[in-house]
Amino acid sequence: MSTLQNTIRRLASAALVAAVLAAPSLAFACAVCFNRDDETQVAFRISTAVMTFLPFLLVGGLILWLRRRFRALAEEEKRRAAGSPSPTTGQSVGAQPSSS
């Protein structure tokens, strides 16, 4: 492919992106949803953002929390191996619970 063809393709792509960005209303697919005032559109955008990012936030938060728990457990395993007392209970981590 020649340099001229490449340049034309890039320009055409840039023009398409610019057109979409310049006229976002043309990109709205639903005529029912976007036929009202600005307030409705703001509500739609916020809702879309929330519904898009909330799952990532929730699942990401869970994964981060589990990662912290894994690390804390690994630290405790190390302490147990060394036989030092647990910082949380003050007891030797390897101590068996009393039972009756």
Binding site: E39, I46, V50, P55, L58, V59, L73, S99
Partner: protein, 196 residues
Amino acid sequence: MAYHRTGHIRVASESRTAQVVSNGVLGMLLFVIVEMMVFAGFISAFSIIRASALIWPPLDQPRLPLAATAVNTAALLASGYLLYHARRAFQRDPEAAQTPLMWSMLLGAFFVLFQGYEWVRLIGEGLTLTSSSLGSFFYMIVGLHGIHAIVALGLLAHTWNRLRRGWLVQSQLATAEVFWYFVVGLWPVLYLVVYL
């Protein structure tokens, strides 16, 4: 599962096998995530309907009880705090967790009963599931939360019963806690979105 005595009640102790998180807590967390998305969907739909309405709330519909529900919100938040206090007490002395757990349950029950009373009043004033979009969303969102609150109260009652008998282990309390904190934490959001 082994049992040992503290005071006059038996206390169950869990296996010493290292576990990152108990199955119950992990399962409940995943369930809570799913439920959060359900509520996010309802809140999203409600926000759009509210924003696109010419007049909100509808003129012919009764106003939602802001002040009374604020008091009820405080009761639910207090219930959440008492459950947190119960867990702290359980770590020191399981017997001492009985009272805060019981008060947490009672405040939760007060919340549900008061909500029921408000519903009866609102239905009497003409706000029904089919009277307007406000009524539809109000009963759908608040009702769904109410169902969660009732189920969580059942779980708390089961937890309290196990504690009383000395059969409760930390992970069971933590599982009930996750669900109740979800119910407590979600409510102020619903209050802000639906009532205000």
